[in-house]
Amino acid sequence: MVAHILKLKLRLLANGFKRSVGQLVGVIIGGVYALGMIVMLTLAAWFTAGESAIAGEVSIIVASLVVLGWAVIPPLLTGVDLTLEPSRFVHFGIPQKVLGPALVLSGFISVPAILTIVGLIGGSLTFRYDPLTLVVGIVAAIITAVMAVLVCQYLTIMATALRAKRRFREFTFAVLFLILVCLGPIISSIAMAASSLLDLVVPIANVLAYTPLGSAAALPGAIVAGNYVQFGICLVLTVIYLAGLYWLVSRATAKATVTPPPEQQAAKQSGLGFFKYAPSTPAGAVGARALTYWFKDPRYAIGVLMVPVLPLIFWFVGNQTGNFTMMFLLGPFIGILLGFSISADISYDNTAFALHVLTGVSGRADRAGRALACLTLSIIPVLAAAILPGAISGEVWRIPGDIGMSLAALLVALGVASVASARYTYAVPLPGDNPMKTPPGNGMRVALTQLATFTTMGVLLIPVIIPYLIGWFQESQGFNYLTLGIGLVLGMGLFFGGLVLGGKWYENRAPELMQAVMLNK
């Protein structure tokens, strides 16, 4: 039975790759990249063997980071492959004694798990001078990997039970959002402390050695140091942690196989919301629907995650270099980012897009509705980002130029995105899915599409950029007003041009778009 479940997992993995060639290529590129990293790590471990006095401590920290990564990233952020989640076996009546180990073992049949094991074993080569230590190191590496996968499975089962509730999903999303916003400051403070970081390695490692994160990895280091007391303690702790975790995972698995999915509390909204205020035209309806989704669907917020983060990052950079020039570029950057955010709109609709195809809504109305919804939400942040830096720094002369440049960026980005999204769709998290989850093997295609879109926006903006830069460097108010004029004319022109061209492409390709979103590609 265990073998059957393992075989099932292997088959699922293989079939996942078969789904599309593009995806396979993406996975291979990602795999080669990860393998490259592992080879580098292994080489580093090989050559620093015996040379570093803190090899033991470093391997504790590396192992702890690996376990921590497995504990945090899959359950909370990316979501794990839950094809074999325990609740799917509810109907089979498999004895718990069999199902537990089978599901735990099947957790190891995944590309990241295998890479983790290989990487950790590679890292243990740092102990290659002493055969006994090397053996202990390799065993410790494997135990660490087991610990990582077990922790991940346990937390995933726990998180899945909670995540089935939409409220909780949206709540975690909000928390993550806050953390990400704070990430800039956190990283820069760590960077400032970097000089003293080396002094911290030993004490931190000493603490981690007694936690589930690093107890196994502490074993080879203890032998090298000749500290057999620590070796003994860590060995006992490792066994306890491992057994305890295994017990927790089996118990959680057992419980999940007999727990029915939780009841949902239905959300209510009385009245028509945005539909009440939007004009009674197809374009107005599309706009109202898009606006509703901007507020109700976390995937939209993820798309514009950078917008509140950008000012913080720029401000921190300015704080550290004493030069706040970057702040003046906030308006154009935010304009482009916000305008670009509608380029995955049809992909986000997924098969609900069928309603647009079936009603025969005109391409222009579809494009205009989506673009105007985004414009309605963006116009105030963009204007604020354009006006405030100039106003705060007292350089009032430059504000017209900033406004012109920023509005042009927003409008041109909306126009280009309106065209691009009528032609290119890509795999996105499904409606109601974890918004952070990226479908695998999609990277290249998305990157190419986005690069092409951004390049097009940049090229189209050149007529505004030139007077803007002249106005900036010559501190000429005349050129700034010229920028404002050109920006508004060019922006409006390309915005409406994008709607018309995008609408035309949309009408020619609506059925093909429909097929693409059905496959989510």
Binding site: Q264, Y293, D297, T351, T359, V361
Partner: protein, 254 residues
């Protein structure tokens, strides 16, 4: 008045090596209640997708009330309401918003949309759930609200792919009454279904499709002859396994 509400002429679609729909032609007369039956994977949904503008056919035409849907999609779609199978709805909208959206997308007048939305919610027995998000609806409720989005513009032709799946018997009876009424006053309905009994009772015409090929079409009595529709269907499709069945699936053998 066009005599043929949906005229499918030689529609064909191939996915890779698999021929999903092979040169199917069928005529759905105006004012008929037309059943489209076939086993799983027969190509019903593929064919209806091509006839409703969701999937571009490799060859062939589909004329909706005389208008070629692939030559003039907007005009053809204006007279047709479709319940597609296996597609999501904009489920972050409430039921009321979704039906309203479907009306406004078709360029209807706001007052008409408002009154018709309330009427549709009432007959679908969803008045109390109109303010709930569609994502929180059950499968049957989602089916009903999707049906409402297909009917709000009072189309001449309704194409319904598996309309009764997951719908409770009371709602199904209500929906049947609505559809019968609609046909009585000149509308045309095409439903696809696996439930032969239902098709035999409800439909005036029927087409049998299997393996992407049209096996029979005509009035229900023509197609079934002396048999029940179900027996005739199994006959046409040739699917009834005549081996011994599952001899071990007998509780008495234990």
């Amino acid at each position: 008045m066009n005599q043929i509400a949906l005229d499918i002429r030689g529609l064909a679609k191939q996915f890779g090596p698999k021929v999903a729909v092979d040169n199917v032609s069928l005529q759905v007369p105006s004012g008929s209640f037309y059943g489209l039956v076939g086993p799983n994977g027969a190509g019903k949904t593929t064919m209806l997708s091509m006839a409703t503008g969701l999937l571009r056919p490799d060859a062939g035409q589909a004329l909706v009330n005389g208008v070629d849907i692939w030559a003039d999609p907007q005009a053809a779609k204006a007279t047709m309401g479709v319940l597609a199978d296996g597609v999501r709805q904009f489920d972050r909208l409430t039921g009321r918003q979704l039906v309203t959206y479907s009306g406004l997308l078709r360029g209807m007048d706001r007052d008409d949309v408002t009154t018709r939305t309330e009427d549709l919610l009432r007959v679908m027995d969803l008045s109390d759930d109109g303010d709930k998000l569609v994502v929180d609806y059950s499968a049957g409720m989602t089916k009903k609200i999707s049906l409402a989005t297909a009917m709000i513009h009072s189309p001449k032709l309704l194409v319904l792919d598996e309309p009764f799946e997951a719908v409770d018997p009371v709602s199904a009876a209500n929906i049947r009454d609505i559809l019968n009424d609609y046909v009585k006053f000149g509308g045309t309905v095409i439903v696809s279904s696996h439930v032969m009994d239902l098709v035999q009772r409800m439909c005036t015409h029927v087409a049998v499709i299997a393996g992407g090929v049209l096996k029979a079409q005509g009035s229900v009595d023509e197609v079934r002859g002396e048999m029940t529709l179900e027996d005739r269907f199994v006959d046409l499709v040739g699917g009834r396994a005549n081996n011994e069945g599952l001899s071990w699936l007998r509780t008495s053998s234990n």
